[in-house]
Symmetry: C2
Subunit: 327 residues, 2 copies
């Protein structure tokens, strides 16, 4: 297939690009490089542009004879979304709907969308099935949910086919260490812990150790970025026009903050000192996927089922690129 990867210069998008190429697809990356890295895109595949540039998006869809779109171009920082929601309505709603309307114009109707567990908010039951009511508690989660609704409405009215993949905690890097995670600011736990091992931070701060979990720290479901990517490829094959599929992507296993830090110590051999900090607002104690639907509907099974193997891939990337994509 000819696949347009929107946001393909970002963390998860860049990994999906490699997996698409590995599987023999033809890839075009559309990215404005506002947060992505040109260096993460294979030579010759990047079209730099805005989603609001209708003519350019339509021309790209037509020139490259695109069969399907993967949409990774969104902002994903919870705190930023609270402090500056305009960015999130712009990027995650307005620009995303502009993409759909460009697709209508170019008659491209298949799309795989990066959704998120943040659309659930603070669910009562864990593990979290896809039937959990979506009650997002911040503009990030809300704007992602809005786009899921837009997809459902476009499927019903215009015959779009889509998959909305609700990620739990993306982590890790391509095993060859060639691409990986590089956010500014970095808010993800594993890269921050590994920055301590690299000598870039003195200690890792744990935000709350009095949660109702085994060791008192927050529990999350860490899923390897290549496992996420693999699910996108499977979803691409399963998409039916006029229909949608909303699926959790997680391992179904929870790992606490302390367990992540311990895994990082084992992998890096660095003592990684801890500091205690207060709880952060809007941090639920446990977020673990009910991961059965992805297995049943997509035939998907994560390969990285223990966090140590995930951390090993991340560590390879961060060691080789201590300053990320910067020189």
């Amino acid at each position: 297939m000819n696949v347009l990867v929107v946001g393909g210069a970002g963390y998860i998008g860049s990994h999906a690009v490699r997996l698409l190429l590995d599987a023999g697809h033809t890839v075009t990356v559309y990215d404005n490089l506002s947060r992505g890295h040109a260096a993460s895109v294979p030579d010759g595949m990047l079209v730099q542009g805005e989603l609001s540039d209708r003519a350019k998006v339509v021309q790209t869809l037509r020139d490259k004879k695109i069969d399907a779109v993967m949409h990774f171009a969104a902002f994903a920082l919870v705190n930023e979304s609270v402090n500056d929601p305009a960015l999130y309505y712009r990027n995650n709603v307005i620009d995303a709907v502009e993409l759909l309307d460009a697709m209508r114009e170019a008659d491209v109707k298949k799309i795989v969308f990066s959704s998120t567990t943040a659309t659930y908010g603070e669910p009562d039951t864990v593990p979290i099935p896809e039937t959990t009511p979506q009650n997002p508690i911040n503009p990030y989660g809300f704007t992602k949910m809005v786009f899921e609704h837009a997809l459902a409405d476009y499927a019903a009215a215009y015959g779009f086919g889509y998959a909305a993949l609700r990620y739990f905690n993306a982590a890790g890097a391509r095993p060859d260490g060639s691409i990986g995670e590089d956010h500014d600011p970095e808010t993800h736990l594993i890269p921050i812990v590994l920055q301590v091992a690299l000598g870039q931070r003195d200690a890792i701060t744990i935000f709350g150790d009095d949660y109702a979990t085994e060791d008192g720290t927050c529990v999350r479901d860490y899923i390897h970025v290549d496992d996420l990517g693999a699910a996108h490829l499977l979803a691409l094959d399963k998409i039916e026009l006029g229909k949608g599929l909303c699926v959790n992507l997680g391992t179904g296993r929870g790992t606490s903050v302390r367990e992540i830090i311990e895994a990082c110590r084992e992998v890096t051999g660095h003592p990684i000192p801890e500091k205690m900090g207060p709880r952060r607002a809007g941090d639920p104690s446990e977020l673990i996927a009910d991961a059965r639907m992805a297995k049943e509907r997509l035939g998907w099974q994560p390969k990285y089922m223990d966090v140590k193997s995930i951390v090993q891939t991340a560590w390879k990337w961060h060691q080789a690129h201590p300053n990320g994509y910067a020189k």
Copy 2:
């Protein structure tokens, strides 16, 4: 105050314009006339433009020294929203957020927004208080709900102050008959019934008479358009920066389709033949406001508490303007 009435050439907006003028405010109407009527705007008050034209909106806000915005510019046809949702994401979300961003740029932070009972979907309990969960069942209701969230997020982050007024069934016309309802297509019950009295239709079709209501037909809460407008003026005074107020606007009284038809017969003296049709999808049996909050928070009390008085104002308009604003 200097008030910008966005969508002021539409049905409800044009009535609010008159009430603002009556109260001594200075009014500018911003409307693209895609569905509004230039003839409904007082001379010299119209700025014709798109909300996506950032420069024009900002310039208008600055040139007219706008203190507050009333936002009526949205599409409001449920069936159309299902069949062509792109129009609703465009008009009710994208363009509306563009308005907010223009307001940020021009440092105008007060806004009264026309929301709707459609944001509630099909609530379990009637009368419907504002605490009812919002579960809209069509893109119209959903896109209106999205904008309520945007307002809340902009209030928290940027200090906007807003009122979201959730209308029940707007009806009636300015009592002097100078302006009134003129939609294409017309989907509202009272104008359609009055078209029968005007000889423009043979009969009125009742969609279902086996609902669990007293006479079997759907019950709605009809609220006079001038009562809606009056609530906007009260809301304007109550808005506090950084805060929002979401309030139902209805009478708290329900009227069935058959009662509306009977009121139209009494007012017009026309027999108004009925035809029976099947139920329509997504028509709840009863939608009646719990109207207490508007009274408590806005000091608002509808003046038109019986539908006959509402129909009288509508009839005066339709008699004088049987083809609406068209020549």
